[in-house]
Symmetry: C4
Subunit: 193 residues, 4 copies
């Protein structure tokens, strides 16, 4: 089975998710700075989620380089990841509109945890395929970021009820970790082609 | 006529349908559990519809493997299927927002029946094309799932006015039937390539 | 210049247009037939527009078979067509929500006229390209549908202020004319490949 | 790394941005000319933004012809550009709904400046890739439009608080500059293939 359509469909869904999040930034009725001011938390939430969805797209892009053909067994792990990502606009909007109240911040972290879990499952499903790039598989398997991220997420979810700023700092930290390009994957891609 | 653009357009429409359904989950105004509670039926409807649209995408993906070239005669059967799928966000939102009231649950089933019918018509149009994979055609022709599904749908539509839980169980049952990967199609794809 | 990205971008925009129109069908607050009843004109408008956008996608698909490479000179005629199509959701929603009041019905026809004009301009830009399929060009040039459609549109716009039913019948008639597959294009595609 | 998916994802995001802007044109409740009248500034803003996003898509399309392969180093500059473009629907809607009040007009210009800056950064990242088309790189490097545009944007932002008409004329002027096809790029594409 060819992987082109899986990529195209995932690209479509991720492109829509990353774009409709901006619809949660409702156009204010006034036209002065006071009308704009309450939008800052919404904009900040949007930036954070934009970076997260961007990271997932980049990683999805990299991950699919590890396989040449797919089978029906990866279609559902892929849709499962897209499902959790599709809850990002809701979680982002709720968090921004409530100016980072504890529960929405914790729920946002819950969506991040579930997306991270879905990512691990998709990674496993792909690397079990016959013909998967075992070098890339090993590189991804030793992935310390993938192990550290859920720990920080869970800590941040707890912290949301204690100190919201620290909780958000946790989410931002994980995003920063992933923003740094993964040299091993680039290395494998450059030498494996 | 090349099938690439038909696939790309269908991927686009299905990706948008599966993603805009989440927009029916309106961000609540409060920030506590009480604000979140009324969203459960909306989330549940969303999960059910996400799985259904995911199944249609997977099957569409499989079905188009049976042909190498398409003709203008399949463009409208394909758009007809996309039309009924495009009503899923409306039906899902109406059912969720009314906490599974009888009529919305029945209308949801009506959309599922029409999509199933449109699927059969698309399948026939594709398999009539010159050069269609007759092995896959026969496998799909003996498709007991395709025959059982509308029966369960119609029973569930009737049950919606008697016992909503049973009706929803019917919809979930059909989804579960289709979630199990179709070994015959995989078999044909693996051996036919 | 390769035509793949032009097709992909157009597919994306048309897929979004055809799908977001359904968002104008707002989920009603009640859960009985009375809540559903006022949606009929909205659904009817949606069906008509879905068919129109579907026709444009099919024809776009056919038209681009006439060329192998594109130049920068067709990018804007293509965007110009997409612009008028992008007004379809607005025109459709306005017409449906006002239960086919005269002005919205006339404005809907205005959008159809402008899209038809944009279509003619795109067709000309494409067929002027070096290497365009002159057989297809000639077939498309003798296109009586393209000449009759604007006449019916303009008559329907006038009729909107006299008898809305006749006006809508005019729009439906043009859609029906185009739904019938164009044998000449199919003929050229089959023999020209 | 193959550039197909980067193009597909960018096409998807840009297609969604250009299309959801029309959702800011809310369907009015009345059905006469008086209901339509307040929509003129919204429609005008939409046309301006449609042209701008169209220009970015055209230029993105051209720019990616300069490279054959991409590396992970261009994924974030590309997402950064898409981020600023994704704020266009918000800025457009705010400007249109407030009938070109000074602050929304200035904020609109701010988004244009940031998108222009992101464009320059993406251009640099792409042209640093090994194997980039140095002829195209040089042509793009001498790009006077890219140098003049931010100056006009900044002047227009200041003018927004003095004379809104002049400010909008500035934005329209930059759009007009870019609408004129860039002969050097076409030249390079035609001779470089």
């Amino acid at each position: 089975m060819n992987k082109t359509r899986l990529e195209a469909f995932s690209d479509g869904v991720i492109a829509i998710i990353i774009t409709i999040m901006v619809l949660e930034m409702k156009v204010p009725h006034g036209s002065d700075w006071q009308a704009l001011a309450p939008l800052w938390p919404v904009l900040l939430s949007y930036v954070l989620s934009f970076v997260y969805v961007g990271i997932y797209w980049n990683n999805h892009h990299h991950l699919l380089h590890a396989v040449h053909k797919i089978s029906g067994a990866v279609l559902w792990p892929n849709l499962h990841l897209l499902f959790w990502l599709s809850l990002m606009p809701f979680a982002t909007g709720w968090m921004g509109e409530n100016h980072f109240a504890p529960l929405p911040v914790a729920v946002y972290g819950g969506v991040l945890v579930m997306a991270a879990l879905a990512w691990v499952l998709l990674q496993r499903a792909l690397l079990c395929l016959p013909g998967a790039n075992t070098g890339l598989a090993q590189a991804l398997g030793r992935d310390w970021k993938g192990k550290v991220s859920p720990v920080i997420y869970l800590a941040s979810i707890g912290l949301a009820f204690v100190h919201v700023g620290l909780s958000l700092a946790g989410y931002a930290l994980v995003a920063a970790l992933w923003l740094v390009p993964d040299r091993r994957i680039e290395h494998h891609l450059r030498h494996g082609e």
